[in-house]
Protein backbone atom coordinates (compact mmCIF):
# COMPACT_ATOMS: atom_id res chain seq x y z
CA UNK A 1 0.00 0.00 0.00
CA UNK A 2 1.37 3.39 -0.99
CA UNK A 3 1.45 5.71 1.97
CA UNK A 4 3.11 8.80 3.34
CA UNK A 5 4.94 9.16 6.62
CA UNK A 6 8.13 9.66 8.55
CA UNK A 7 11.13 7.36 8.78
CA UNK A 8 10.09 6.53 12.33
CA UNK A 9 6.59 5.63 11.22
CA UNK A 10 7.93 3.43 8.42
CA UNK A 11 10.04 1.47 10.91
CA UNK A 12 7.04 1.05 13.21
CA UNK A 13 4.85 -0.15 10.35
CA UNK A 14 7.50 -2.67 9.25
CA UNK A 15 7.65 -3.95 12.83
CA UNK A 16 3.86 -4.28 12.83
CA UNK A 17 4.04 -6.23 9.57
CA UNK A 18 6.82 -8.51 10.90
CA UNK A 19 4.63 -9.44 13.91
CA UNK A 20 7.06 -9.63 16.85
CA UNK A 21 5.77 -11.22 20.07
CA UNK A 22 7.62 -8.90 22.45
CA UNK A 23 8.53 -5.24 22.01
CA UNK A 24 10.52 -3.49 24.73
CA UNK A 25 10.22 0.26 24.69
CA UNK A 26 11.96 3.23 26.25
CA UNK A 27 11.62 6.67 24.73
CA UNK A 28 14.53 8.74 23.47
CA UNK A 29 14.67 11.56 20.94
CA UNK A 30 14.61 11.15 17.98
CA UNK A 31 13.35 7.54 17.90
CA UNK A 32 10.43 8.04 20.31
CA UNK A 33 7.84 8.12 17.52
CA UNK A 34 8.75 4.49 16.72
CA UNK A 35 7.76 3.17 20.15
CA UNK A 36 4.77 5.53 20.26
CA UNK A 37 3.48 4.19 16.96
CA UNK A 38 4.03 0.60 18.09
CA UNK A 39 2.16 1.36 21.32
CA UNK A 40 -0.72 2.57 19.15
CA UNK A 41 -0.64 -0.60 17.03
CA UNK A 42 -0.71 -2.77 20.16
CA UNK A 43 -3.51 -0.71 21.73
CA UNK A 44 -5.68 -0.72 18.62
CA UNK A 45 -4.98 -4.44 18.11
CA UNK A 46 -3.24 -4.35 14.74
CA UNK A 47 -0.14 -5.84 16.41
CA UNK A 48 -0.65 -8.69 18.89
CA UNK A 49 2.59 -8.13 20.79
CA UNK A 50 3.51 -7.80 24.45
CA UNK A 51 4.67 -4.23 24.91
CA UNK A 52 7.08 -3.93 27.82
CA UNK A 53 7.55 -0.37 29.04
CA UNK A 54 11.00 -0.72 30.57
CA UNK A 55 12.76 1.77 32.83
CA UNK A 56 15.97 2.14 30.80
CA UNK A 57 17.64 1.12 27.56
CA UNK A 58 19.84 -1.31 29.44
CA UNK A 59 16.60 -3.00 30.43
CA UNK A 60 15.00 -2.74 26.99
CA UNK A 61 17.77 -4.86 25.55
CA UNK A 62 17.69 -7.10 28.64
CA UNK A 63 13.95 -7.68 28.16
CA UNK A 64 14.52 -8.49 24.49
CA UNK A 65 17.21 -10.94 25.54
CA UNK A 66 14.87 -12.66 28.00
CA UNK A 67 12.09 -12.88 25.42
CA UNK A 68 14.30 -13.94 22.52
CA UNK A 69 15.84 -16.62 24.73
CA UNK A 70 12.46 -18.36 24.78
CA UNK A 71 12.43 -18.36 20.98
CA UNK A 72 10.06 -15.51 20.14
CA UNK A 73 10.52 -12.56 17.78
CA UNK A 74 11.55 -9.32 19.48
CA UNK A 75 12.10 -5.68 18.63
CA UNK A 76 13.25 -2.50 20.32
CA UNK A 77 14.43 0.95 19.26
CA UNK A 78 16.92 3.42 20.65
CA UNK A 79 19.30 6.26 19.90
CA UNK A 80 22.51 7.89 21.04
CA UNK A 81 22.85 7.81 24.83
CA UNK A 82 20.29 5.03 24.94
CA UNK A 83 22.42 2.88 22.68
CA UNK A 84 25.62 3.41 24.59
CA UNK A 85 23.75 2.88 27.86
CA UNK A 86 22.72 -0.57 26.61
CA UNK A 87 26.24 -1.31 25.35
CA UNK A 88 26.77 -4.16 27.80
CA UNK A 89 23.58 -5.80 26.62
CA UNK A 90 24.62 -5.34 23.00
CA UNK A 91 27.50 -7.67 23.69
CA UNK A 92 25.29 -10.02 25.71
CA UNK A 93 22.61 -10.29 23.02
CA UNK A 94 25.00 -10.96 20.16
CA UNK A 95 27.08 -13.32 22.29
CA UNK A 96 23.93 -15.25 23.18
CA UNK A 97 23.20 -15.47 19.43
CA UNK A 98 19.74 -13.95 19.79
CA UNK A 99 18.15 -12.60 16.58
CA UNK A 100 16.88 -9.34 18.08
CA UNK A 101 16.04 -6.51 15.70
CA UNK A 102 16.55 -2.90 16.77
CA UNK A 103 16.20 0.45 15.08
CA UNK A 104 18.71 3.12 16.04
CA UNK A 105 18.08 6.77 15.28
CA UNK A 106 21.64 7.97 14.78
CA UNK A 107 22.30 10.90 17.09
CA UNK A 108 25.28 12.67 18.61
CA UNK A 109 26.54 11.98 22.12
CA UNK A 110 26.99 14.62 24.80
CA UNK A 111 28.28 16.74 26.21
CA UNK A 112 26.98 19.24 25.24
CA UNK A 113 23.51 18.05 24.60
CA UNK A 114 22.88 17.62 20.91
CA UNK A 115 20.07 15.72 19.29
CA UNK A 116 21.31 16.03 15.70
CA UNK A 117 22.35 13.21 13.40
CA UNK A 118 25.72 11.54 13.93
CA UNK A 119 26.92 7.96 13.50
CA UNK A 120 29.22 7.88 16.52
CA UNK A 121 26.59 6.05 18.59
CA UNK A 122 26.25 3.00 16.34
CA UNK A 123 29.86 3.06 15.15
CA UNK A 124 30.91 2.66 18.78
CA UNK A 125 28.93 -0.62 18.82
CA UNK A 126 31.10 -1.87 15.96
CA UNK A 127 32.67 -4.78 17.81
CA UNK A 128 29.61 -6.14 19.62
CA UNK A 129 28.65 -8.76 17.01
CA UNK A 130 25.57 -6.86 15.80
CA UNK A 131 24.90 -6.53 12.10
CA UNK A 132 24.50 -2.87 11.13
CA UNK A 133 22.66 -1.54 8.11
CA UNK A 134 22.39 2.20 7.31
CA UNK A 135 19.39 3.40 5.34
CA UNK A 136 18.84 6.58 3.37
CA UNK A 137 15.12 6.89 2.59
CA UNK A 138 11.86 6.30 4.43
CA UNK A 139 11.13 3.47 1.99
CA UNK A 140 14.45 1.84 2.74
CA UNK A 141 13.80 2.20 6.49
CA UNK A 142 10.62 0.16 6.03
CA UNK A 143 12.18 -2.41 3.71
CA UNK A 144 15.39 -2.87 5.70
CA UNK A 145 13.44 -3.38 8.92
CA UNK A 146 11.39 -6.16 7.35
CA UNK A 147 14.48 -7.79 5.89
CA UNK A 148 16.35 -7.48 9.20
CA UNK A 149 14.06 -10.03 10.85
CA UNK A 150 14.62 -12.57 8.08
CA UNK A 151 18.39 -12.06 8.13
CA UNK A 152 18.77 -12.11 11.93
CA UNK A 153 16.62 -15.21 12.39
CA UNK A 154 18.27 -17.21 9.60
CA UNK A 155 19.84 -20.22 11.31
CA UNK A 156 23.15 -19.60 9.53
CA UNK A 157 23.27 -16.14 11.12
CA UNK A 158 21.47 -15.97 14.50
CA UNK A 159 22.86 -12.54 15.23
CA UNK A 160 21.00 -9.33 16.08
CA UNK A 161 20.50 -6.65 13.44
CA UNK A 162 20.50 -2.87 13.94
CA UNK A 163 18.79 -0.63 11.38
CA UNK A 164 20.37 2.81 11.49
CA UNK A 165 18.55 5.90 10.33
CA UNK A 166 19.84 9.45 10.63
CA UNK A 167 18.17 11.26 13.51
CA UNK A 168 15.69 13.95 12.34
CA UNK A 169 17.07 13.94 8.79
CA UNK A 170 15.40 10.58 8.19
CA UNK A 171 13.45 9.83 11.38
CA UNK A 172 11.40 13.00 11.02
CA UNK A 173 11.24 13.57 7.28
CA UNK A 174 7.93 12.72 5.66
CA UNK A 175 8.20 10.84 2.38
CA UNK A 176 6.19 8.50 0.20
CA UNK A 177 6.68 4.81 0.88
CA UNK A 178 5.00 1.56 0.09
CA UNK A 179 4.16 -1.13 2.60
CA UNK A 180 3.86 -4.79 1.65
CA UNK A 181 2.11 -7.95 2.79
CA UNK A 182 5.17 -9.91 3.91
CA UNK A 183 3.37 -13.27 3.83
CA UNK A 184 6.01 -15.97 4.28
CA UNK A 185 8.85 -13.63 3.31
CA UNK A 186 9.79 -13.80 6.99
CA UNK A 187 9.51 -17.50 7.90
CA UNK A 188 8.34 -18.46 11.41
CA UNK A 189 11.14 -17.96 13.90
CA UNK A 190 12.83 -21.22 14.94
CA UNK A 191 15.67 -20.41 17.32
CA UNK A 192 17.52 -23.72 17.69
CA UNK A 193 18.86 -22.89 21.15
CA UNK A 194 15.60 -21.55 22.61
CA UNK A 195 15.03 -22.43 26.26
CA UNK A 196 13.43 -25.87 26.51
CA UNK A 197 12.00 -26.90 29.86
CA UNK A 198 12.12 -30.54 28.78
CA UNK A 199 15.78 -30.32 27.89
CA UNK A 200 17.28 -28.09 30.55
CA UNK A 201 20.67 -26.55 29.99
CA UNK A 202 22.89 -23.79 31.24
CA UNK A 203 23.14 -20.68 29.09
CA UNK A 204 26.13 -18.42 29.46
CA UNK A 205 27.73 -20.38 32.25
CA UNK A 206 31.37 -19.96 33.23
CA UNK A 207 33.32 -20.56 30.02
CA UNK A 208 37.06 -20.80 30.51
CA UNK A 209 39.85 -19.81 28.16
CA UNK A 210 40.03 -23.22 26.55
CA UNK A 211 36.52 -22.82 25.09
CA UNK A 212 35.59 -19.13 25.16
CA UNK A 213 37.43 -18.42 21.89
CA UNK A 214 35.34 -21.06 20.12
CA UNK A 215 32.17 -19.12 20.87
CA UNK A 216 33.83 -15.91 19.69
CA UNK A 217 34.89 -17.62 16.49
CA UNK A 218 31.34 -18.87 16.01
CA UNK A 219 30.08 -15.28 16.12
CA UNK A 220 32.46 -14.43 13.31
CA UNK A 221 31.26 -17.46 11.37
CA UNK A 222 27.70 -16.20 11.75
CA UNK A 223 28.81 -12.75 10.63
CA UNK A 224 30.49 -14.12 7.50
CA UNK A 225 27.53 -16.41 6.81
CA UNK A 226 25.28 -13.36 6.95
CA UNK A 227 26.72 -11.98 3.70
CA UNK A 228 25.16 -14.61 1.40
CA UNK A 229 22.01 -14.50 3.54
CA UNK A 230 21.77 -10.73 3.05
CA UNK A 231 22.33 -11.12 -0.70
CA UNK A 232 19.71 -13.85 -0.90
CA UNK A 233 17.24 -11.89 1.26
CA UNK A 234 17.63 -8.72 -0.82
CA UNK A 235 17.21 -10.73 -4.02
CA UNK A 236 14.09 -12.43 -2.70
CA UNK A 237 12.74 -9.07 -1.52
CA UNK A 238 13.26 -7.65 -4.97
CA UNK A 239 11.60 -10.68 -6.59
CA UNK A 240 8.54 -10.43 -4.36
CA UNK A 241 8.14 -6.71 -3.87
CA UNK A 242 10.03 -5.16 -6.75
CA UNK A 243 12.47 -2.94 -4.90
CA UNK A 244 16.16 -3.64 -5.38
CA UNK A 245 18.85 -3.40 -2.74
CA UNK A 246 22.51 -4.39 -2.77
CA UNK A 247 25.26 -4.76 -0.20
CA UNK A 248 26.29 -1.24 -1.26
CA UNK A 249 24.67 1.06 -3.78
CA UNK A 250 26.64 2.48 -6.69
CA UNK A 251 25.66 5.67 -8.51
CA UNK A 252 27.29 6.57 -11.86
CA UNK A 253 30.42 4.65 -10.90
CA UNK A 254 31.17 2.80 -14.16
CA UNK A 255 33.51 5.37 -15.73
CA UNK A 256 34.17 7.38 -12.57
CA UNK A 257 37.63 8.74 -11.79
CA UNK A 258 36.58 9.71 -8.27
CA UNK A 259 33.98 8.16 -5.98
CA UNK A 260 32.38 9.64 -2.90
CA UNK A 261 31.62 7.11 -0.17
CA UNK A 262 29.22 7.74 2.72
CA UNK A 263 26.44 6.13 4.77
CA UNK A 264 22.92 7.25 5.59
CA UNK A 265 21.23 10.36 4.19
CA UNK A 266 24.53 11.90 3.05
CA UNK A 267 24.87 8.78 0.93
CA UNK A 268 21.72 9.82 -0.92
CA UNK A 269 22.30 13.57 -1.11
CA UNK A 270 25.78 12.98 -2.59
CA UNK A 271 24.11 11.68 -5.75
CA UNK A 272 23.06 15.27 -6.45
CA UNK A 273 26.69 16.33 -5.93
CA UNK A 274 27.77 13.69 -8.45
CA UNK A 275 25.35 15.12 -11.01
CA UNK A 276 26.71 18.64 -10.44
CA UNK A 277 30.32 17.44 -10.73
CA UNK A 278 29.53 15.55 -13.93
CA UNK A 279 28.05 18.72 -15.42
CA UNK A 280 31.34 20.44 -14.57
CA UNK A 281 33.23 17.70 -16.39
CA UNK A 282 34.42 15.71 -13.39
CA UNK A 283 33.73 12.02 -13.82
CA UNK A 284 32.40 11.45 -10.32
CA UNK A 285 30.49 8.52 -8.87
CA UNK A 286 29.09 7.60 -5.48
CA UNK A 287 29.04 4.47 -3.36
CA UNK A 288 26.56 4.39 -0.50
CA UNK A 289 27.69 1.86 2.08
CA UNK A 290 24.63 0.10 3.50
CA UNK A 291 26.19 -2.64 5.63
CA UNK A 292 28.85 -1.52 8.08
CA UNK A 293 28.86 -4.91 9.85
CA UNK A 294 29.50 -7.20 8.16
CA UNK A 295 31.93 -4.85 6.43
CA UNK A 296 31.66 -5.17 2.67
CA UNK A 297 34.63 -3.77 0.78
CA UNK A 298 33.47 -2.14 -2.46
CA UNK A 299 35.29 -2.42 -5.77
CA UNK A 300 37.35 0.77 -6.08
CA UNK A 301 39.70 -0.18 -8.94
CA UNK A 302 42.23 2.54 -8.27
CA UNK A 303 39.69 5.39 -8.33
CA UNK A 304 40.20 8.49 -6.21
CA UNK A 305 38.17 8.07 -3.05
CA UNK A 306 36.48 10.74 -0.95
CA UNK A 307 34.98 9.29 2.24
CA UNK A 308 32.55 11.28 4.36
CA UNK A 309 32.41 10.15 7.98
CA UNK A 310 29.56 11.37 10.17
CA UNK A 311 31.59 9.96 13.08
CA UNK A 312 35.08 10.11 14.48
CA UNK A 313 37.42 7.83 16.38
CA UNK A 314 39.57 10.11 18.50
CA UNK A 315 43.25 9.45 18.08
CA UNK A 316 42.58 7.55 14.87
CA UNK A 317 40.32 9.26 12.32
CA UNK A 318 37.10 8.83 10.41
CA UNK A 319 36.08 5.23 11.01
CA UNK A 320 34.62 4.48 7.58
CA UNK A 321 37.65 6.03 5.86
CA UNK A 322 40.01 4.04 8.05
CA UNK A 323 38.24 0.76 7.48
CA UNK A 324 38.04 1.30 3.73
CA UNK A 325 41.72 2.16 3.65
CA UNK A 326 42.62 -0.93 5.67
CA UNK A 327 40.48 -3.27 3.60
CA UNK A 328 40.99 -1.89 0.10
CA UNK A 329 44.38 -0.21 0.29
CA UNK A 330 42.92 3.05 -1.05
CA UNK A 331 44.26 6.43 0.14
CA UNK A 332 41.00 8.26 0.82
CA UNK A 333 40.45 11.96 1.24
CA UNK A 334 38.80 11.63 4.63
CA UNK A 335 36.12 14.23 5.30
CA UNK A 336 34.57 14.57 8.73
CA UNK A 337 31.20 16.24 8.23
CA UNK A 338 27.71 16.35 9.61
CA UNK A 339 28.55 15.73 13.25
CA UNK A 340 25.72 16.64 15.60
CA UNK A 341 23.44 17.46 12.68
CA UNK A 342 25.93 19.93 11.14
CA UNK A 343 24.33 21.10 7.92
CA UNK A 344 26.00 19.49 4.88
CA UNK A 345 24.53 20.20 1.44
CA UNK A 346 25.11 18.63 -1.96
CA UNK A 347 27.12 21.76 -2.85
CA UNK A 348 29.37 21.12 0.15
CA UNK A 349 29.83 17.50 -0.93
CA UNK A 350 30.75 18.56 -4.47
CA UNK A 351 33.30 20.92 -2.95
CA UNK A 352 34.86 18.05 -0.96
CA UNK A 353 35.56 16.36 -4.28
CA UNK A 354 37.02 19.51 -5.82
CA UNK A 355 39.46 20.12 -2.96
CA UNK A 356 40.40 16.47 -2.40
CA UNK A 357 43.93 15.60 -1.33
CA UNK A 358 44.24 11.80 -1.15
CA UNK A 359 45.59 10.47 2.12
CA UNK A 360 44.63 13.53 4.17
CA UNK A 361 41.88 14.41 6.60
CA UNK A 362 39.51 17.35 6.31
CA UNK A 363 37.17 18.54 9.03
CA UNK A 364 34.29 20.38 7.41
CA UNK A 365 33.85 23.72 9.14
CA UNK A 366 37.33 23.59 10.70
CA UNK A 367 39.76 23.18 7.83
CA UNK A 368 37.92 25.44 5.34
Amino acid sequence: MLTFGTGNKAVAMAVRDAKPVVVAAYPITPQTEIVEEIANFVTEGSLAARYIPVESEHSSMAACIGAAATGVRTFTATSSHGLVYMCEMMHMSAGARLPIVMANANRALGPGWNIGAEHSDSISMRDTGWLQVYVSTVQEAYDATLMAFRIAEHTDVLLPVMINLDGFLLTHITQTFETVEPGDFIPPIATPHAIDINNPGGYGTLTPGNTHFKFRHDIERGMQASIPVIVETEAEFSRRFGREYHLYEEYRCEDADVVIIAMGTLGKEMEVAVDILREEGTRAGAIRMRWFRPFITPELNGKDVVVIDRDYSFGYGGVLAGELQAKSGCQPFSVIAGLGGQEVTYDDIAEFVRIRRPGTEHWFGVDD
Binding site: F4, F168, H172, T174, E269
Partner: protein, 175 residues
Amino acid sequence: MFEIRLHSRGGQGGVTAAKLIAYAAFLDGKYATATPLYGAERRGAPVVSFIRIDDEPIRIYSQIRNPDLVIVLDESIMQLVDVLNGIKPEGKVFINSQGGTEVEGHQTYPVDLTSISLSLDLVLAGNPILNTPLIGAIAKMGIISQDSAKQVIAETFRDERNVEAALRAYEELKI
Protein backbone atom coordinates in the same frame (compact mmCIF):
# COMPACT_ATOMS: atom_id res chain seq x y z
CA MET B 1 11.58 20.99 -7.83
CA PHE B 2 9.37 23.39 -5.90
CA GLU B 3 10.76 24.33 -2.49
CA ILE B 4 8.78 25.87 0.34
CA ARG B 5 10.13 27.23 3.61
CA LEU B 6 7.55 27.62 6.35
CA HIS B 7 8.14 29.92 9.32
CA SER B 8 5.98 29.60 12.40
CA ARG B 9 6.10 29.65 16.17
CA GLY B 10 6.16 26.54 18.34
CA GLY B 11 2.57 25.52 19.06
CA GLN B 12 1.12 27.06 15.87
CA GLY B 13 1.10 23.75 14.00
CA GLY B 14 3.72 24.69 11.42
CA VAL B 15 5.34 21.26 11.44
CA THR B 16 1.97 19.59 10.88
CA ALA B 17 1.09 22.13 8.20
CA ALA B 18 4.27 21.21 6.31
CA LYS B 19 3.36 17.52 6.49
CA LEU B 20 -0.18 18.20 5.28
CA ILE B 21 0.98 20.27 2.29
CA ALA B 22 3.48 17.54 1.36
CA TYR B 23 0.80 14.91 1.82
CA ALA B 24 -1.54 16.78 -0.51
CA ALA B 25 1.24 16.91 -3.12
CA PHE B 26 1.72 13.16 -2.64
CA LEU B 27 -2.00 12.68 -3.31
CA ASP B 28 -1.51 14.73 -6.48
CA GLY B 29 0.90 12.02 -7.61
CA LYS B 30 4.04 14.03 -6.92
CA TYR B 31 7.08 13.15 -4.86
CA ALA B 32 7.13 15.28 -1.75
CA THR B 33 9.06 15.58 1.49
CA ALA B 34 8.41 17.55 4.63
CA THR B 35 11.13 18.16 7.18
CA PRO B 36 10.95 20.04 10.42
CA LEU B 37 14.12 21.80 11.57
CA TYR B 38 14.31 20.98 15.24
CA GLY B 39 16.09 22.98 17.83
CA ALA B 40 15.15 23.09 21.45
CA GLU B 41 11.38 22.86 21.11
CA ARG B 42 9.62 25.58 22.99
CA ARG B 43 6.15 26.89 22.62
CA GLY B 44 6.34 30.32 21.02
CA ALA B 45 9.88 29.95 19.67
CA PRO B 46 10.46 30.46 15.93
CA VAL B 47 10.26 27.14 14.03
CA VAL B 48 11.20 26.36 10.43
CA SER B 49 9.87 23.52 8.26
CA PHE B 50 10.80 22.59 4.70
CA ILE B 51 8.63 21.16 1.96
CA ARG B 52 9.94 19.87 -1.37
CA ILE B 53 7.69 18.85 -4.26
CA ASP B 54 8.98 17.27 -7.47
CA ASP B 55 8.12 14.89 -10.28
CA GLU B 56 11.26 12.83 -9.51
CA PRO B 57 12.28 11.12 -6.24
CA ILE B 58 13.84 13.68 -3.90
CA ARG B 59 17.40 12.94 -2.82
CA ILE B 60 18.08 16.06 -0.80
CA TYR B 61 17.96 16.15 3.00
CA SER B 62 19.71 19.44 3.67
CA GLN B 63 17.84 22.63 4.39
CA ILE B 64 16.15 24.75 1.74
CA ARG B 65 18.30 27.80 1.08
CA ASN B 66 16.61 29.19 -2.03
CA PRO B 67 12.87 28.73 -1.58
CA ASP B 68 10.31 29.23 -4.31
CA LEU B 69 7.77 30.08 -1.65
CA VAL B 70 8.10 31.37 1.89
CA ILE B 71 5.14 30.85 4.22
CA VAL B 72 4.93 32.97 7.35
CA LEU B 73 2.34 31.81 9.85
CA ASP B 74 3.15 34.52 12.41
CA GLU B 75 3.85 37.98 11.06
CA SER B 76 5.75 39.04 14.19
CA ILE B 77 8.48 36.53 13.36
CA MET B 78 9.55 38.80 10.52
CA GLN B 79 11.06 41.16 13.12
CA LEU B 80 13.24 38.32 14.49
CA VAL B 81 14.05 36.19 11.46
CA ASP B 82 15.04 37.14 7.93
CA VAL B 83 12.30 35.08 6.37
CA LEU B 84 13.32 36.21 2.88
CA ASN B 85 16.90 34.93 3.27
CA GLY B 86 17.93 33.20 0.03
CA ILE B 87 14.50 33.46 -1.58
CA LYS B 88 14.61 33.13 -5.36
CA PRO B 89 14.21 36.42 -7.26
CA GLU B 90 10.85 35.20 -8.54
CA GLY B 91 10.01 33.63 -5.18
CA LYS B 92 6.63 34.28 -3.61
CA VAL B 93 5.62 35.01 -0.03
CA PHE B 94 2.50 33.95 1.83
CA ILE B 95 1.82 35.79 5.08
CA ASN B 96 -0.84 35.14 7.67
CA SER B 97 -1.58 38.82 8.06
CA GLN B 98 -4.35 40.89 9.52
CA GLY B 99 -3.12 44.06 7.85
CA GLY B 100 -2.51 42.85 4.33
CA THR B 101 1.29 43.10 4.65
CA GLU B 102 3.18 43.28 1.38
CA VAL B 103 6.83 42.36 0.85
CA GLU B 104 8.73 44.59 -1.51
CA GLY B 105 10.11 42.90 -4.60
CA HIS B 106 8.14 39.69 -4.19
CA GLN B 107 4.63 38.66 -5.05
CA THR B 108 2.95 38.59 -1.65
CA TYR B 109 -0.24 36.77 -0.65
CA PRO B 110 -1.59 38.07 2.64
CA VAL B 111 -4.55 36.20 4.13
CA ASP B 112 -5.87 36.56 7.67
CA LEU B 113 -5.87 32.89 8.63
CA THR B 114 -6.12 33.72 12.33
CA SER B 115 -9.40 35.59 11.99
CA ILE B 116 -10.86 32.86 9.80
CA SER B 117 -10.13 30.28 12.50
CA LEU B 118 -11.30 32.45 15.36
CA SER B 119 -14.55 33.30 13.57
CA LEU B 120 -15.22 29.56 13.32
CA ASP B 121 -14.04 28.99 16.90
CA LEU B 122 -11.32 26.64 15.60
CA VAL B 123 -9.03 26.73 18.60
CA LEU B 124 -6.72 24.02 19.91
CA ALA B 125 -5.02 24.37 23.29
CA GLY B 126 -5.57 28.12 23.15
CA ASN B 127 -4.15 28.58 19.66
CA PRO B 128 -6.22 29.19 16.52
CA ILE B 129 -5.87 26.28 14.06
CA LEU B 130 -4.01 27.66 11.07
CA ASN B 131 -3.31 24.43 9.17
CA THR B 132 -6.64 23.98 7.49
CA PRO B 133 -7.16 27.51 6.18
CA LEU B 134 -3.51 27.47 5.05
CA ILE B 135 -4.17 24.39 2.95
CA GLY B 136 -7.11 26.14 1.31
CA ALA B 137 -4.90 29.13 0.49
CA ILE B 138 -2.07 26.95 -0.87
CA ALA B 139 -4.59 25.15 -3.09
CA LYS B 140 -5.74 28.51 -4.47
CA MET B 141 -2.09 29.25 -5.35
CA GLY B 142 -2.11 26.07 -7.44
CA ILE B 143 0.68 24.33 -5.48
CA ILE B 144 -1.67 21.50 -4.55
CA SER B 145 -4.95 20.51 -6.13
CA GLN B 146 -8.34 21.33 -4.64
CA ASP B 147 -9.26 17.65 -4.49
CA SER B 148 -6.13 16.70 -2.58
CA ALA B 149 -6.59 19.62 -0.22
CA LYS B 150 -10.10 18.42 0.56
CA GLN B 151 -8.95 14.84 1.05
CA VAL B 152 -6.11 15.83 3.39
CA ILE B 153 -8.49 17.84 5.55
CA ALA B 154 -11.12 15.10 5.56
CA GLU B 155 -8.59 12.45 6.56
CA THR B 156 -6.90 14.54 9.21
CA PHE B 157 -9.70 16.53 10.84
CA ARG B 158 -13.14 15.25 11.77
CA ASP B 159 -14.59 18.67 12.50
CA GLU B 160 -16.46 20.00 9.45
CA ARG B 161 -15.49 23.57 10.35
CA ASN B 162 -11.99 22.83 9.05
CA VAL B 163 -13.38 22.41 5.55
CA GLU B 164 -15.20 25.70 5.96
CA ALA B 165 -11.97 27.39 7.10
CA ALA B 166 -10.13 26.09 4.04
CA LEU B 167 -12.88 27.29 1.76
CA ARG B 168 -12.87 30.78 3.27
CA ALA B 169 -9.08 31.08 2.89
CA TYR B 170 -9.42 29.83 -0.67
CA GLU B 171 -11.90 32.62 -1.32
CA GLU B 172 -9.90 35.30 0.44
CA LEU B 173 -6.59 34.65 -1.31
CA LYS B 174 -6.41 36.88 -4.36
CA ILE B 175 -4.39 35.66 -7.30
